[in-house]
Symmetry: C3
Subunit: 667 residues, 3 copies
């Protein structure tokens, strides 16, 4: 599809059908070229069990198509009608406390229940067979934000599935007992059906069990998606996506595995603008060669009965859109078209008010459309540059951290998403173009790889990294990475498992260093260190100590080592520099290794101003530069740069950006 998309989530089923033409006319006026529909429409299609009609939505599609508006059609599985669960509490989601969910909101049905799953696939089949070839449809979305409201399911069918999953994974109960070390606390199981889901106990479950249950549930919801994809593909050749959010209880890498392209939802208030960059950087490499979409954001403020965010300032929405286009997104799509008249999201901003007037965010949408038109030819003529630096996203690591917030003293809990974002932020602040790469992804194009909070370093991962390092890459193994085994146990051969030998270190002590008054010195700076510490000693002659601890507990041991291997190097950071000086030390670390690794896609921009480098097929370079922090900024452009929108030559040196301003520059 040769365009940039700009659209909105649309709920024609909630308003008089006669108002659809007015809606479409207003969309056209705004220049919107897509809408997303369908995710909550099951009861509209099948008000009574078996009485199904898609006619209303065919009429909607017809009208949208006539207006030249493309449609993303969602499967309606997040909200089954009341007849599916009323009188059948056994078909509902059950949380870890055994609380059974009720009809009335979303995601209350248990997708583990065979009746629910069958009903879901049936309605998807009905829908896909009815509209699968409709020309209005440009893409499909499976369900909506899986697990946005719920975590692991403890429905009895989920637990039975868990037992089958364990059996498939381990084969015999003895293997499970060995892998999980279940002699501890006499946990030992005789049969798979005895293994509890991690329901309430007087204290904590075995880490292996807790982490495995998370991984099981996340695989199961992905399988549910796969099954829906298979149904749709029988009726349609349009691409399929799902709108993920990085902090929901899903396995991002597994979720995307069988999708055609990646999408994300994000509703950051102004201060959290780096989240937009992060999500684009995660989704861009998720499906190499396929542009990703920014599927949901609010035009002015997120809102529901329990919270609302601060209303956006002027310019913020356009900056979000431009940076997303620059970073490879093909679409930006709002939630939602017209303010909800009923439900529980009445306070959420929309393009139009309930009384069909421009809302507080309307002019921001106009500004996005103006930007989209200007950007479209330039974006279609170029592609985002392949990143040379990346941070690792490990869904198993994330599950382990949820079980065990390593270094997790109250107030010092390690949140996986936050730590990955912290390292992503270090690259961003350094002006380095970057990816967030899944643990299983190829390392193509990379020169610098940072792996934060991935407790288990698998042989496969390490093999890939070793090849990368030998070829000249620098791998930074950040704190906690390597400290656990595949089944969330502790390595028994070395403190960092396979990493010790690869990095040429001996992990001497492994302990929480927060609060001990310890400091680390490296790159000429001495900073407090915090979190879980692996205090190191070189174990091979080619291992250099770059950072040394001053610590009563681990005096003179290293917290930063480097070993050159082949053309590259492996760097172990054993403890996290903390505080202001720690932040400076980390910035120096990143700058040092970016340089050592030969990273070239690095830009000299003021903080809060982001450069999105792109390249045309014939090798020309284009920068999309955006001020995202609302303070304005500058970026240094080289000699010969040209403003891509005006065609005017730009003097070499600092190019100024207004508050939330953006520029496109041929370099």
């Amino acid at each position: 599809m040769n365009k940039l998309l700009h659209g909105t989530c649309y709920y024609p089923e909630l308003w008089p059908e006669s108002e659809i033409p007015r809606d479409i006319a207003e969309m056209k006026k705004l220049g919107l070229n897509m809408v997303r529909i369908g995710e909550f429409t099951w009861s509209k299609m099948e008000p009574d069990e078996g009485r199904v009609s898609v006619d209303f939505f065919v009429r909607v599609l017809d009208q949208l198509h006539a207006a030249g508006i493309g449609v993303v059609y969602c499967t309606p599985t997040p909200t089954p009608p009341v007849w599916l669960t009323h009188g059948h509490p056994d078909r509902c989601f059950v949380d870890a406390e055994g609380r059974v969910m009720s009809h009335g909101a979303r995601q209350h049905a248990s997708y583990e229940h065979p009746v629910v799953r069958a009903a879901c696939l049936r309605i998807v089949e009905t829908l896909a067979s009815a509209v699968g070839r409709h020309p209005a449809i440009i893409a499909w979305q499976i369900d909506n934000e899986f697990k946005c409201h719920v975590g692991e399911d403890f429905n009895p069918h989920a637990v039975a599935h868990w037992h089958r999953w364990l059996e498939a994974r381990f084969g015999t109960i003895e293997k499970l007992n060995d892998a999980w070390g279940t002699e501890i606390w006499s946990e030992r199981y005789q049969r798979f059906d005895q293994v509890p889901a991690p329901v309430r106990t007087p204290f904590l479950h075995n880490a292996s069990l807790s982490t495995a249950y998370r991984m099981f549930c996340r695989e199961s919801i992905a399988e549910f998606m796969d099954a829906q994809c298979a149904v749709i593909r029988r009726h349609s050749d349009k691409p399929i996506t799902h709108n993920t959010v990085t902090f929901f209880s899903v396995n991002q890498e597994r979720l995307f595995a069988n999708l055609d392209f990646a999408s994300f939802d994000d509703y950051p208030p102004r201060d959290n603008w780096p989240a937009i960059v992060f999500d684009n950087d995660l989704c861009r490499p998720a499906k190499p060669g396929r542009a990703h979409w920014f599927m949901e954001t609010s035009v002015a403020h997120n809102g529901w009965f329990g919270n609302h965010e601060v209303t956006h300032p002027p310019g913020f929405l356009a900056a979000e859109a431009v940076v997303s286009f620059g970073l490879g997104a093909q679409a930006i799509n709002y939630w939602l078209w017209r303010q909800q008249r009923t439900g529980c999201e009445l306070p959420h901003s929309a393009i139009l008010s309930t009384w069909f007037k421009p809302s507080v965010g309307y002019t921001a949408v106009e500004a996005v459309e103006a930007a989209r038109r200007q950007l479209e030819p330039l974006m279609l003529a170029s592609k985002p540059a392949v990143a040379e630096a990346a941070v690792t996203w490990s869904d198993l690591g994330r599950a382990m951290l949820q079980t065990e917030p390593l270094g997790g003293r109250p107030g010092y809990e390690v949140d996986f998403n936050k730590v990955v974002a912290q390292w992503h932020g270090l690259l961003l602040e350094a002006g380095i173009h970057r990816d967030v790469r899944f643990e299983g992804a190829a390392l193509d194009g990379l020169k610098l790889l940072i792996t934060p909070v991935m407790p288990f370093v698998s042989p496969d991962f390490l093999k890939k990294v070793e090849k990368f390092v030998r070829a000249g890459g620098v791998w930074i193994c950040a704190p906690t990475t390597g400290t656990r085994g595949a089944e969330h146990t502790v390595p028994t051969d070395a403190g960092l498992g396979l990493v010790d030998a690869f990095a040429g270190v001996e992990t001497v002590f492994s302990f929480p260093i927060t609060g001990t008054g310890s400091t680390g010195k490296a790159f000429g700076l001495t900073a407090p260190v915090a979190g879980w510490c692996s205090a190191l000693r070189p174990a091979t002659s080619d291992t250099r100590v770059l950072g040394t601890l001053k610590s009563e507990q681990a005096p003179g041991l290293a917290f930063l080592t480097e070993r050159r291997i082949g053309q590259g190097a492996v760097v172990v950071l054993g403890a996290l520099p903390d505080g202001k000086t720690g932040a400076k030390l980390l910035a120096k670390l990143v700058a040092h290794y970016a340089k050592q690794a030969g990273v070239t896609l690095r830009f000299d921009a003021t903080p809060g101003t982001v450069v999105c480098p792109r390249a045309t097929a014939d090798g020309e370079t284009l920068w999309v530069v955006v001020n995202l922090n609302g303070k304005g900024g500058r970026v240094r452009v080289p000699k010969g740069a040209t403003d891509a929108l005006t065609g005017k030559k730009l003097p070499a040196g600092p190019l100024k950006l207004a508050r939330y301003g953006w520029r496109v520059v041929w370099i």
Copy 2:
């Protein structure tokens, strides 16, 4: 009854019967002329099912009557005996989490269960028939503090009642689906029995459903009270009341509907003294022509195992009593006579200790009795002046706010009671004599009406207001008022529903303004604005803008408008001025419109000193002036004022009050 009442809650059933004469002698010594008994006595009357005797209480009544002490007799329904619920968990209250309450405290039985309700009415019948004509009885109280410990009941009988209630309200399920917009999230119902009570879902229920369930439960408990009233009235002609508390889960207006007079309980610690004024101002107009009672307060400190308040300073209790008498209360009654020997309120203050000695609050009770005697002739000779200013109390509004704390960013939740108290406080601080008027109450006597947090402005209410305005009144429509429909939906014609047209405004934007840095300027002051904002534009030529926003989101729009209609005016305040300057701006707003409306019952007193204006039948004016903040104060008296207790002339000008001091003045 031609006296001021001064009494105490009394539990003779908890102590040896032989001690009753000693109790009564001590009451006489203190001058108490009433007691309240009976609310927890069911098991004393009916220790085994069907084995009933009221004899003990008849003896109590006989002795009290002989001593000239009047009795308020409570129905004993808050604490059914163990035989009613033991072995019958189905008869117990169930909370939103499905937790079934146990015997052992209070309000554990479900009044929705037919067996429980029948047993309650039977014991009330037994009681009323036995003592209904006893000459000691001066009034009845139904039950005790309905819903003081519990909120909405989710017993299956409650849910079945809910379905009948919905059917009676909507007639057909289609009407409910339309009114609630249940196509959203495929909530759509096929039958009334499918509509869930708002039990746990993965996210939030539809606002319409949540609010309706609150209103249903509050109506149901009121019906339970009505049924008890009907029983009592068959046996007694004494007036009936209930002791309400404004923050319990009841519908105050509905609760009072079938009662003979209003009563409130309040246990404010010293700093919360405005609550006493508020409660008197709410109860006084609740039953026009019938004096209200202050039914429960502590003599020194509230206390139970989870908390205790700070012990009162000397003078505070008398100030509470005097201001209540001055504001129209006929009675002040303590909880309780003698410190509890057992139970869970052992730390609560009482007049006497368990060891029958004067407690820390005893001298305070003596001071109240001295005041009562001085005040009695003056109070009997006069009545509280009818207020010219009022704030609106909307029980539907309160239910909506509980569902949706509008503007409810964490830390900025809008609590209905607090906001109404804030506006009441503005009148109080301005020295304006004021009412708290129920939404359904007549506007007789008023010149200025402020309606805070009443999201739904009904056609009936607006008709009443329009008449009031045309006749010269000023109506201030405060933030969030008008922003929702009757069924807790969003208006689709205008941002403030019917208010837009009436007030001659267009609501341009409706959004949360907190945190955006926006300010509003009016009355020469510029203050931050916060909460939910309706940004306005005049829509008629006679609408004046009095306050303008400085805001990136709504630049130049109005947050304060005025439209003259007839002899009066309607004023819309679209956003709440915040902070210290905001408080000043609000004070100016109130002063401005009090003046414009011609409010005359306004007094020049220092903060924390309250004037209660009263009038005799022949038109003479009496002020009861009380210092409530414990800092002493002054009030300006006109020429010719006389001290009503001493008969001495007072010089015109400031009249000083000591800490917690009070004066009665003929003007």
Copy 3:
């Protein structure tokens, strides 16, 4: 056993059996002479129901014995195997919310269930009969940290037991109704089986019921221990202990009743070092004539998935060990030998890492062993001096405070353990050698007894105290002591029950004084007073007022009185001096009465440095002096003192101690 013990908890069942010799060799190298094993080994012994073998553990014992390492063998009842509870949720622990615990952690089985209890006694019998005479065993431990993860059990079998327990206690339901005053709130019971366990009610249960349920559950778990002891004693003559922790839901005094010696577990981080002193002072007098053990502590940091403590500084562990030996402990034992490879305590420090290398705490263990060797001959040649001062530990008092945190305004809750520790700390800071004595313990040797937070003062206790006072002792009755009756009711004869008459006071007012601005003056200091206040008046001519209130509520009344009785005195402190000046006042109070009582075991040491006085059989005095606060310190030694390790004479005057330093001195 004529040695000091130094050991570790050891889990050979979690590692390959072939590694045991390596473990033992390393233990020998470190000098460890004991291990504790067995508490979680049930599934290793009985992997399938009825298939039992203790062979593995016999082999472990054989090897340990061959190495000269003594073994404490624990019964494995905290973790029953999965076959005991899988498919039998009725056999599991149920909490107050009715939540049934699952297999997977510890203490999930209900010891109230007859099947569970029988299975427990059977496995103990199997174990004891198999290894009871094994020469490696030096002691037994019953179970492990009873109630460390759970509180009161609400399994239906527990509730049935509760009904039997009540019947045994009260005989007839009428007596229970009378004792608990159940006419209140119509609680009155017809039969014992109607008395609920304190499950969820809309408000609070009767204090009598809540406190009784705690006492019942604590007695029941002690009976479970007694039954295990009886089994073991049929097969072994080795002494039996249990490792208690003072803040678990057990009755410490009752728990120790049938044990041979006392043990405690404690994992204080550096700042909480006084806890170590407290626990030694509690356990030393618990079993007069039998040395107690310090059974569990971490070598460097406590840790599990929800928390970890700050890693110890060098010297801290040795200081903990030395002060414990000095205060009478025979053993110090670590949890654990080798870091957990699986489970949920992976972050807990151990002597060795999972990869069998010295951990961050290893050198600390070496330091302890060096100290143990130096201390051993000196400790064996002496015994701790009998304390002259003590604070009372009342398990009934603790239960009452848990029901009713007296004076319990939020933020001012009275925590029993904290208040007892506060008073213990006052003695410690005063340099006074002290005991923590159980309520039922004899008062032998004491000159000063302080009884904090013991609401019920029983006739037996008072008789003991009176004898103590008449013989010259001083009893300080601290705030809240005396304010409640045996069944958690309020005394009806006097504010402090029997104490009023004994102490020659009248409790005039009983009220919460926090926040009233009241102060108390005594010993020349005026301090704020806080908490629950008993304002006093002398009632006998020989009662002196030592401290007077300045208070609006209780002006001129006393908060500190003294009455000389016989050779001694009873002192009532009616309210707690608060803040910095309050702390000074309390220090003066303690110093004053220690002097008056003739306490001689008092040392002149800087804060944080503790003197442990000991005496040899022939009357020589030995001091173990330890710096515990990590700041170093000084203690004044008399003329003629000798360093017991070097034999060198010490000059009279200040003896310096390094950070965490310690000295042993002949006096």
